[in-house]
C-alpha cells in the first residue's frame, strides 16, 4: 500500500491564482482530513470528511473548498490564493474504530507571492 499520497510536493502561486491540492489514500479509510502547518502553530484543521459525499468545516476553512466524490480522493481547492495561505498542507486519513489514529501524507509546501 502507498498509504496517503499528496501532489504536488511544492508549488508557488501568485496572488489571486487558484489551484487544487490532491490527496489519495489506498487504505479504504472512511475519514480524511486536511491540515495546514505553520511554524510554531501546530496543525490546524481546514476541512474533514467522514465518508464519500460528506464534508465538514474545521477550524480554518476560509479560502478553501473540498469535495469527496470517492472514498480514496479528497482534493483541497484554493480559490484566489492569498499570502496568508503560504503554508505546508498535510492530508491525513483514519478509519472507523481506530480511535481516530491518523495516517499522514508527505505534505505540500505552498508559497503564495
Amino acid at each position: 500500500n502507498a498509504g496517503v499520497t499528496q501532489t504536488p510536493k511544492f508549488r508557488i502561486l501568485k496572488i489571486g491564482q487558484s489551484m487544487t491540492l490532491q490527496c489519495t489514500q489506498d487504505m479504504n479509510h472512511n475519514y480524511m482530513y486536511w491540515y495546514r502547518q505553520d511554524p510554531g502553530m501546530g496543525l490546524k484543521l481546514i476541512y474533514y470528511s467522514v465518508g464519500a459525499g460528506i464534508t465538514d468545516k474545521g477550524e480554518v476553512p476560509n479560502g478553501y473548498n473540498v469535495s469527496r466524490s470517492t472514498t480514496e480522493d479528497f482534493p483541497l481547492r484554493l480559490e484566489l490564493a492569498a499570502p496568508s495561505q503560504t503554508s505546508v498542507y498535510f492530508c491525513a486519513s483514519s478509519y472507523l474504530g481506530s480511535h481516530n489514529e491518523q495516517f499522514f501524507g508527505p505534505g505540500t509546501r505552498l508559497t503564495v507571492l
Binding site: 475519514y31 480511535h99 481516530n100 489514529e101 499522514f104
Partner: protein, 114 residues
C-alpha cells in the same frame, strides 16, 4: 472546547540525557491520546497512543508516555535520547466517541546535541 497545551516549545539536550515533554489537555470525558513525531522535512508519524488500559504506554524508538487522568496529562519520556531524536513532537487528543477529529498541540521542537 478541547485544547491541548505543550509547555515546552523548544528543548535542547545533549545525547544520553533524559527527556520529558509535557502535554496537558482540557477535555473532561473519555479521551484518546497520541504523540506524533515529525523528523526534519518529513510528515507526521505516530509515536505512541493511549486508548484505555495501562496508563503507561510504550511506543517506538524507546519512547513512552504516562496518562494521568487526575492531571489531564500525557507526558512523553525517553530515558536516554539520541541525536536521531531531533524532531518536532506533537501531542494530540480525541474526545472519544463523540468526535471525529483530533486536536493537536503546537508542538515541541527537540534538538539533540551530538
Amino acid at each position: 472546547a478541547q485544547s491541548v497545551s505543550q509547555h515546552n516549545h523548544h528543548v535542547i539536550l545533549s545525547e544520553a540525557a533524559s527527556l520529558e515533554l509535557g502535554c496537558n489537555y482540557s477535555y473532561g470525558g473519555t479521551v484518546n491520546l497520541f504523540w506524533y513525531v515529525q523528523y526534519p522535512g518529513q510528515h507526521l508519524q505516530l509515536l505512541l497512543k493511549y486508548f484505555s488500559g495501562d496508563p503507561l504506554v510504550k511506543g517506538i524508538k524507546g519512547f513512552e508516555a504516562e496518562f494521568i487522568k487526575s492531571k489531564f496529562s500525557f507526558n512523553l519520556r525517553k530515558p536516554s535520547v539520541q541525536w536521531s531524536d531531533t524532531a518536532e513532537y506533537f501531542c494530540a487528543v480525541n474526545a472519544g466517541r463523540r468526535d471525529d477529529k483530533i486536536i493537536f498541540g503546537k508542538g515541541t521542537r527537540l534538538h539533540i546535541l551530538p
